[in-house]
Symmetry: C2
Subunit: 106 residues, 2 copies
């Protein structure tokens, strides 16, 4: 298989203890990974100084927090947090897998 | 709706003349958009000097080109091209929508 082809589904891992992360790729300017949640799990609100971030919901549904906004995002939705804007996952409403991207990489 | 929530599906546009593009968001360090193909359409091989790029296949299937590699990528697959590595879409095998990301933005 090509080094340039990645199947995110095969990297998803879940834990009943807490939300998990998996790295997919790290380039000079861009990092991509997965955030995986069981229903009821959360990701604390945080901000990345000088780094833009997005979440693409691959499966499931979650209530997201970006800035002062709170909203539900289901499979196919794109959520983004410009540099320095606080963001997180208020609550995973289902088993949820998110592709996340950050630039520059952490 | 929150300014931080985007539904890529609603931005997909198709043309029988050629593959189309749609911008989704442009932040300081990151650009996200869509590339939309009818079956049989292509994207010429090109490279981005100093910018990392990824394609996430949202729907459909295409034969991709990255470096010397040629491979099929279907819905859910992630394809990436590090800065300066030539890449393109050899052939869309179905009606195909790809989320693309580039960092830094073009």
């Amino acid at each position: 298989m090509s080094q340039y082809l990645v199947d995110p589904d095969t990297h998803a891992v879940f834990s009943t203890d807490k939300a998990t992360k998996a790295d997919l790729l790290r380039a000079e300017h861009l990092f991509l990974g997965l955030n995986c949640f069981e229903p009821g799990q959360t990701q604390r609100i945080h901000a990345h100084h000088g780094a833009d971030k997005f979440y693409l919901i691959l499966s499931g549904k979650a209530r997201m927090a970006v800035g002062d906004d709170r909203f539900e995002a289901g499979a196919g939705a794109l959520v983004w947090a410009p540099a320095d804007v606080p963001h997180g996952v208020d609550l995973a409403l289902e088993r949820t897998v998110m592709l996340i991207g950050m630039s520059p990489p952490p």
